[in-house]
């Protein structure tokens, strides 16, 4: 599952580099998206759209909304997940794809300088865990940027299978 925001300018590209990411493509259309109706019609063919009529408290809150209300989207929570708030270089994307493929419990997050979530990659075994959706259901709807890192740490703590020390 690939989730991105309208800040990602690659969404209008004819052959975007993220097209190889497995699972559904989801676009978080933020209130200040600046896209024309024609452009929206174009991206609608590729993306399932979540249009935010009010700015979410942070991008992670928007992801939460997808996790709760997108549960009937085909292949929902069946593949590794990548959230990205900007265009991602092909090489980075390739590395993330390889990482989540090889490490089904991988968690990789990155942040902008203002502390907001830039990207989050999760391996398929984390996403497929039934508690993953529960985690988002229990997350505060209006979670702020400053708490996102802690929330992702909770994912690491509870949803990553750890080796049992000998």
């Amino acid at each position: 599952m690939f989730i991105t925001t309208s800040n990602n300018k690659d969404i209008l590209a004819r052959f975007p580099n993220f097209r190889t990411w497995p699972g559904p493509f989801i676009l978080l259309l933020l209130p200040d998206h600046g896209l024309t109706d024609k452009e929206i019609s174009k991206v609608e063919k590729r993306f399932v759209i979540f249009k935010f009529v009010t700015l979410p408290s942070c991008h992670f809150s928007a992801v939460r909304h997808v996790m709760i209300h997108g549960r009937f989207i085909p292949d929902y929570l069946q593949t590794p997940m990548l959230f990205a708030d900007k265009a991602i270089a092909s090489s980075v994307l390739k590395d993330l794809a390889a990482m989540t493929r090889e490490q089904p419990f991988a968690v990789k997050d990155g942040y902008f300088s203002d502390g907001s979530l830039e990207h989050l990659a999760l391996g398929s075994e984390i996403v497929k865990n039934p508690l993953f959706a529960v985690f988002f259901r229990n997350l505060m709807p209006d979670i702020e940027d400053e708490h996102v890192e802690d929330a992702i740490e909770t994912i690491r703590h509870h949803l990553v299978l750890k080796e049992i020390p000998e």
Binding site: F50, V53, T54, H69, F72
Partner: protein, 859 residues
């Protein structure tokens, strides 16, 4: 740790993790409040209690205090407790068990409802007087409420009936909702759904009311719950299946009350609809059903077609979000010879009439207008002379010669027709166990219904080889699924001669041969209706590629209340309707303006939305007049004092409907130091006809076209007075301003290019029932009316110019036959006028401006 301490710790961990209290038999907060002197002296209350207080007999918990004066407290606690471990400890008389149960209950929701039949939250919700008085709800219930007969969760949970099927957590769970469990149309269909689903799904049945089919519902379901307040009560039912509901099916529009719970719990649902909108009132039943269902399933297309106006109003996508699934197949069956003979003999005995060589015409159903029982009687009369060998038999309840709406008149007609007399051709039987034999014995059924979706009696009759004569346009059997079925004979709507002819032409029933029986057995059934609905619902859910999230600019309620507790639910209801692109609340002013801008319909030319503002400057105001229609006058004085604008009006005209009210109004104006012309007239045309008449035959008839007028009224919404008052204040504040300010509406209407100024309403109100009148007025318009008016002066208060009013009067002319009171709640010409103001402005080449004031509460 003792047994009771272990229970205490477990319940707190499970249901109240924030409660930092190690012991059930000592409450630090309670102790500190009881003995505040400890804190003053810096003494630790816990140490004090352990070392001194307990021994001194001081009270460590609320329970210890209450039990002193309530000798039967333990008995009451024991009766309320439902948790098996707690109940066992109480039954074994473990010391402290009742105190533990009480202290757990005192922690409130959700723990109290988990371990007992008492919930503080529920008690406060249904008894706001307790909340208002600041009383402890648990104490009040135990000490007073029980003896006063006040409700507890027991009153809800006693309506939870265990089902005959075991809940299997590995199966999907479906909630099937029916409005009642009576043996009538929709509940019978609901029972069929439950039976079809029982093998593959856990079925939770929820009904608004019980009925004779309850036991049959129980047999096929895991649990049956009955509540007339499902949204409020559902959380208190205890069955584990309730926590696992994957989807729901609402069987009938009468189940609209369930939508609130399902939206709140985010459970997807399909509504299986059998009802025509013509008789579904209030209209909000259809509106809420269409707004919030993920899929609408109709049992026939003729029924769906009557929902067309509702769909148009809500922008409901019929092709995408609705589907037809016939409730069952219709085939002309047969009856073996022996059964036919015995059935004829039984019917002959029931009506006391030899049926040899006779044609038996049956009618069936509750005796009423809708079923056309009177038409059945008249058709029997038509055939009385020409065909005395045709015998009419109606089977059904509802005959009541004291019912002034129908029974009295039918009874007279039956007597004149000689019903139930020896050698008559017309007989009435109450519903009874002989019903199937009546169907077997009949040669033909006459479905005299005026409007009847897919009555089960037709399926029954056809099953027993009885053809059916019915009116075209009266039933769902016009659907292509059914209309060509052998055995169905349609005649022109309401044409009794044609019906009589068709009945007369049906050959007498021939009993089945063994070959017929074999053919019947070979006809297999397709997928069940339940399976088809489920498949269609999930197909629809998976196909959704457009979701809307966020609160939007207007926190305006639809299903839910206005309290803070419901804030997330209100957002959720808007998100759901917007995700399906259905309309009832605007997401933003920009969205409304964008819809106007996108329209090329003449009605929307010059329509625009502007932000509200106000001014405290009263200099250089333009001349303007105010019309107040004062049918109700109790708020008039308050209004006159509350709005500075009245003091600056060149002229105020008040219309009312009696001289007495006129005198009172005159006195009110004198009290506030204002002058008004008071006109008394008949109570016709609500507030708006008196306003229009000012310009056609009253004091404003010579006003120049650019004369400015403000029209308001003292409307009261009976039954929704509180909401109505808020709405009226919303309208008045936007139009007039306040005690110290003037609304910008006055400045705007004074502009040369503006002809209408009214409040922008956060609700997207459409033509609604006025749609039925559009054809009558469309020829006078410059073009077709738009599918949506988008905006109009909802509430019928506005600023306008005399020229616009003249245009409105021109739509109707001088001789229009205005309807008199009482009139319908919607869909009258007066409701249409409300929607025609933008048309009148557009036709005078003036703009219609709508003022947006998002901070003004609308409901």
């Amino acid at each position: 740790m003792t047994r009771l301490q272990t229970l205490w710790a477990r319940f707190l961990a499970d249901f109240s993790p924030d409660t930092a209290r190690p012991d059930y038999d000592f409450d630090l907060a309670f102790y500190g409040a009881q003995y505040p002197d400890l804190a003053l002296h810096g003494i630790n209350p816990a140490h004090h209690y352990a070392n001194h207080g307990k021994a001194e007999g001081r009270l460590g918990t609320l329970y210890q205090q209450v039990v002193q004066n309530s000798p039967d407290l333990d008995a009451r606690i024991a009766k309320l407790t439902i948790d098996p471990d707690l109940s066992a400890a109480i039954a074994e008389e473990v010391p402290g068990a009742c105190e533990l149960a009480f202290e757990l209950m005192a922690l409130g929701s959700p723990l109290d409802g988990k371990i007992s039949d008492f919930s503080c939250a529920y008690y406060l919700e249904i008894y706001p007087d307790i909340a208002k008085a600041g009383l402890n709800p648990l104490l009040h219930f135990i000490q007073h409420g029980i003896s006063e007969g006040r409700r507890s969760l027991l009153d809800i949970r006693k309506n939870e009936y265990a089902g005959g099927q075991v809940f299997d957590p590995d199966k999907p769970t479906c909630m099937i909702c029916v409005h009642d469990c009576s043996k009538s149309g929709a509940p019978v269909v609901g029972l069929d759904l439950v039976r079809e689903a029982a093998d593959s799904h856990n079925i939770v049945v929820m009904a608004l009311r019980g009925g004779v089919l309850l036991e049959q519902f129980r047999a096929a379901a895991c649990v049956v719950m009955i509540s007339e307040r499902p949204a409020e009560d559902m959380v208190y039912f205890a069955h584990p299946a309730l926590k696992k509901i994957d989807f729901a099916i609402l069987n009938s529009v009468e189940c609209f009350l369930f939508t609130k719970a399902l939206v709140s719990l985010d459970i997807p649902f399909a509504s299986y609809l059998h009802e025509y909108t013509e008789y579904t009132f209030p209209a909000y039943k259809s509106i809420f059903t269409a707004l919030f269902s993920d899929l609408l399933v109709f049992s026939s297309n003729p029924v769906r077609e009557t929902w067309g106006h509702t769909f148009d109003d809500l922008n409901f996508d019929v092709a995408r979000d609705s589907i037809i699934i016939p409730q069952r197949s219709l085939r002309l069956g047969s009856v073996p010879a022996t059964m036919h003979q015995s059935a004829r003999a039984r019917l002959a005995q029931l009506i006391g009439r030899d049926l040899d060589g006779k044609r038996v015409v049956i009618g069936a159903g509750h005796v009423q207008w809708r079923k056309g029982t009177d038409l059945f009687v008249m058709t029997a009369q038509v055939l009385q002379q020409p065909d005395p060998d045709t015998i009419f038999v109606w089977i059904g309840d509802g005959l009541n010669h004291e019912d002034v709406y129908f029974g009295v008149w039918l009874d007279k007609h039956m007597r004149e027709a000689g019903a139930n007399k020896p050698h008559s051709n017309l007989y009435f039987l109450p519903a009874g166990p002989y019903y199937h034999d009546v169907c077997r014995a009949a040669d033909v059924m006459f479905l005299s219904s005026r409007l009847d979706p897919l009555p089960n009696v037709v399926f029954d009759a056809m099953h027993f080889g009885t053809p059916v004569v019915l009116f075209q346009g009266a039933t769902g059997f016009d659907d292509e699924t059914y209309c060509d079925q052998p055995g169905l004979v349609s005649v022109a709507y309401g044409n009794l001669q044609a019906a009589a002819q068709a009945l007369h032409s049906v050959p007498l029933k021939q009993p089945a041969t063994p070959e017929d029986a074999s053919k019947e057995a070979d006809k297999g059934e397709g997928p069940s209706v339940f399976a088809q609905i489920t498949q269609a619902l999930f197909d629809r859910l998976r196909a959704q590629r457009h979701f809307v999230a966020g609160a939007g600019e207007y926190d305006t309620p639809v299903l839910f209340g206005i309290t803070d507790d419901d804030a997330q639910n209100r957002i959720r209801e808007r998100e759901k309707m917007w995700s399906y692109n259905r309309r009832l609340v605007w997401s933003s002013r920009a969205a409304a303006q964008a819809e106007i801008d996108a329209s090329d319909n003449w009605y929307h030319h010059g329509m625009n939305i502007r932000p509200y503002s106000s001014t405290a400057k009263y200099a250089d105001l333009p001349d303007f007049s105010v019309h107040i229609h004062a049918y109700y006058i109790d708020d008039l004085e308050k209004d006159l004092n509350n709005y500075a604008l009245y003091q600056h009006a060149k002229r105020i005209i008040v219309t009312t409907d009696s001289l007495e009210k006129g005198q009172e109004i005159s006195a009110i104006f004198e009290t506030v130091g204002l002058q008004a012309d008071i006109i008394t007239g008949s109570n016709t045309g609500r507030d708006i006809l008196p306003f229009l008449k000012l310009f056609s035959e009253g004091p404003a008839q010579d006003d120049p076209a650019d004369a400015l007028w403000c029209h308001v009224h003292q409307k009261k919404s009976v039954g929704t007075a509180a909401d109505g008052d808020v709405w009226r204040t919303f309208l008045m504040n936007i139009l007039l301003g306040s005690k110290d300010t003037l609304s910008c509406a006055l400045d705007m209407i004074a502009a040369a290019d503006i002809g209408l100024v009214s409040p922008f309403d956060p609700y997207q109100i459409s033509w609604n029932a006025s749609r039925r009148l559009l054809d009558e007025f469309e020829p006078q318009m410059p073009g077709a009316f738009p599918k949506q008016p988008i905006l109009f002066p909802v509430g019928n208060m506005f600023w306008t110019k005399a020229g616009v009013v003249a245009q409105m009067n021109a739509f109707f002319g001088n001789e229009y036959p205005w309807p008199n009171e009482p009139i319908a709640n919607d869909g009258t010409v007066f409701h249409l006028i409300e929607r025609l103001w933008p048309a009148a402005a557009a036709m005078t080449s003036l703009q219609a401006v709508f003022l947006d004031k998002p901070d003004q509460r609308r409901t």
